[in-house]
């Protein structure tokens, strides 16, 4: 089909399509980080876990021919990394932010180490649903070709939002995150809760990585992540630790990331490289706007070292 001439309408459409395509890893990583941070711990290592997850998923998909096995395998490695972070951070005087930075270097180092042989072969992609079937404009169809993982991410955001409010597990995580002492008084073991929350967070981040290598951009190489795992930390703060907010923030980021390519497609090439900075500028701007010296962040877990 020939691309129809839809003029400047192409820009918002491309941004919408880009937002849906680019936001999925952000959804998963930020939901994972939200669970971890709600339990009172921060994991900057999600960036490394994301990269390692991308590599694992791609390698497994190449070997077995099944992208879903790849996603599952990635989640498994994410759990292992999360357990490691959770275990090492329980020791006194061990700084969870610094460990996260180390894990970020280590995780991406391991991924590049083991991923070297998988840069060449191509893996089967994750399937996408053609939600734009009702339209005969190719741009609309392209924008609404939605990957299954995006829909799963959306469903998970709602489920987590509900679970934090209404389930015992959600309550336990919130109590542990707000006050370790209160949790101990309730007979809970904060270390175990945080260990599990970090492990689940790791699994989420690794699935976000699997989306990168198996769908968009859909190949494995060493530049696959451009800080998605780290921006998730800022994103969670922006979302006020609320899973629904994470979903909305991820869409916003995806849209900001798609701004440059969308403008380029209609011939705006001035300052093309500056548009790459848009998501980071947006994040920083939001953090500056929402932080304040006088009060701690609304909704922040009390035990979180990043807001103290």
């Amino acid at each position: 089909m020939e691309p129809a001439d839809i003029g400047l309408w192409g820009v918002p459409l491309a941004i919408l399509g880009g937002a849906i395509r680019v936001s999925t890893p952000f959804i998963f990583v930020s939901l994972g980080e939200a669970i971890t941070e709600r339990s009172g711990r921060i994991n900057l290592g999600l960036e490394g876990i994301l990269v390692f997850g991308a590599m694992t998923a791609y390698a497994i998909a190449v070997v077995t021919g099944s992208p879903w096995l790849g996603v599952l395998g990635a989640a498994g490695t994410g759990v292992l990394f999360g357990l490691f972070h959770g275990w090492i951070c329980k020791f006194p005087k061990v700084n969870d932010i610094a460990i996260g930075i180390a894990l970020m270097l280590f995780g991406s180092g391991l991924a590049f180490f083991f991923g070297k042989p998988y840069i060449q072969p191509s893996a089967p992609d994750l399937p996408a649903l053609p939600l734009g079937f009702w339209s005969d404009i190719p741009q609309v169809q392209a924008a609404l070709s939605v990957n299954v993982l995006f829909l799963i991410g959306a469903a998970l955001s709602v489920a987590l939002w509900w679970a934090f409010r209404n389930t015992r597990a959600g309550l336990v995580i919130r109590v542990v995150g707000d006050s370790g002492d209160a949790a101990r008084a309730m007979g809970l073991n904060p270390n175990i809760v945080r260990l599990l929350a970090t492990a689940v967070g790791g699994a989420f981040a690794a699935v976000g990585g699997a989306y990168l290598s198996l769908y968009y951009p859909g190949s494995w190489n060493e530049g696959i992540s451009s800080g998605q795992g780290l921006m998730a930390v800022a994103l969670v703060i922006f979302a006020r630790w609320n899973p629904l907010g994470c979903f909305a923030a991820a869409l916003l980021f995806g849209g900001a990331g798609a701004l440059g390519p969308a403008l380029q497609s209609v011939g705006v090439t001035q300052g093309y490289y500056l548009f790459y900075a848009a998501p980071y500028v947006l994040t920083l701007g939001i953090m500056i706007a929402t932080s304040s010296r006088g009060r701690s962040l609304a909704g922040a877990p009390g035990e979180l070292s990043i807001t103290k």
Binding site: L105, F106, Y273
Partner: protein, 363 residues
């Protein structure tokens, strides 16, 4: 008999207390290397061959030592960018941004000043790069103090913004039309290039880095300003109650840290590249984090640690060729060492050998 009465026992106690800061990091380094050996054994590679190659590639010959020292030069300055704010309790990890923009600023001045005496040109480049870096990381400090924006995240976001800015300048306004395959800025005046130290194949950046470490050490350990910083780093609230001007302290230390990183960028441009291009984002900022933590944020300790890390880095090529290991091997090793070093923090004050108070209690 109590320790104070016997000079010999007093000396032992002093030694015991002092040795903790050396023994624990060294032990952690050793454990990190051992873990890496286990990793190699799993892959069916020989740890002995690894150590042999690492020694030969990093320190075994005059050639490899010079190679090591060249790689250590930017690490010294990059590590200072982490270590100085860390004395105030700030974890700044985005030094890469200051390095990159410092390099761009230096390259711009190095081109604009062409034809001027080389002293003016080199000083101008250094000042431009340092000012740029100071502005960049100083802003991180200001955001931290005046808006309570977490410095770890903001510095990292700003590093990504800095790299986008660099790409913008290198591909756009500052691009040399003659650079076709590898976009770069106009070359600096060759008279401003920083040469090698006489008798060595290592550029003057190494000396600049060592001097910077010594200056930073004097500043922290021997001046009132450094003393205030150490107090604020120990307990920010207490420092404020005592009437210390914490704000200028935080912004000033961050700006100085950024200035060092900016200088690293200028040196990379003036001694290695000759212009600013994508290669100046080589990851020194991130390796500097490891160096600073290994040195426990002590500027003097940064010097040997940077040389050690430079040696590991320098042997990477040899490991790749002889053992058939991917180029990420060095990164895996660094990650392992980093994790063990951070984990070792938990052992400070826990070992009886380093704690004379515990000797007495049990006697």
């Amino acid at each position: 008999m109590s320790a104070a009465e016997s000079p010999a026992a007093g000396a032992w106690e002093w030694l015991a207390r002092r040795s903790e800061a050396f023994v624990l990091p060294l032990a952690a380094l050793l454990v990190g290397l051992l873990l890496f050996c286990v990793f190699l054994l799993f892959l069916g590679k020989s740890p002995l061959q690894f150590f042999d190659l690492m020694w030969r590639g990093g320190f075994g010959s005059w050639f490899s030592i010079q190679n090591t020292l060249s790689r250590a030069a930017p690490l010294l300055l990059a590590a200072l960018c982490v270590a100085l704010p860390a004395r105030l309790g700030l974890v700044v990890i985005g030094g890469e941004g200051a390095i990159v923009l410092g390099g761009v600023a230096g390259a711009a001045v190095g081109h604009a000043f062409a034809g001027l005496p080389s002293v003016v040109g080199i000083l101008g480049m250094a000042l431009a790069g340092m000012a740029m870096g100071a502005l960049w990381i100083g802003a991180v400090g200001a955001l931290r103090h005046y808006r309570a924006v977490n410095e770890t995240i903001s510095s990292l976001l700003m590093a990504y913004i800095a790299i986008a800015l660099m790409n913008h300048f290198v591909e756009g306004p500052l691009r040399d039309p003659a650079s076709l395959n590898k976009p770069s800025t106009h070359p600096i005046d060759p008279a401003f290039a920083i040469g090698d130290i006489p008798g060595m194949d290592v550029h003057w950046g190494l000396i600049a880095g060592i001097v910077a470490c010594v200056v930073a050490w004097v500043l922290i350990e021997k001046t009132a300003w450094g003393f205030s910083a150490r107090i604020a780093g120990g307990n920010m609230r207490a420092a404020q109650v005592q009437g210390l001007a914490v704000g200028p302290l935080i912004v000033g230390f961050s700006a100085l840290a950024g200035a060092f990183a900016g200088l690293a960028g200028v040196i990379e441009v003036a001694a290695v590249q000759g212009n600013a291009n994508a290669s100046i984002a080589a990851g020194y900022g991130y390796a500097g984090i490891l160096v600073a933590f290994l040195a426990r944020h002590n500027p003097l300790a940064i010097i040997p640690v940077a040389i050690l890390l430079g040696g590991i880095d320098a042997s990477g090529g040899l490991l790749q060729r002889r053992m058939g290991l991917p180029d990420a091997t060095v990164q895996v090793l660094q990650g392992m060492i980093f994790l063990v070093i951070l984990f070792s923090e938990t052992f400070y004050g826990r070992f009886k050998a380093f704690n004379p108070d515990l000797w007495r209690r049990t006697r």
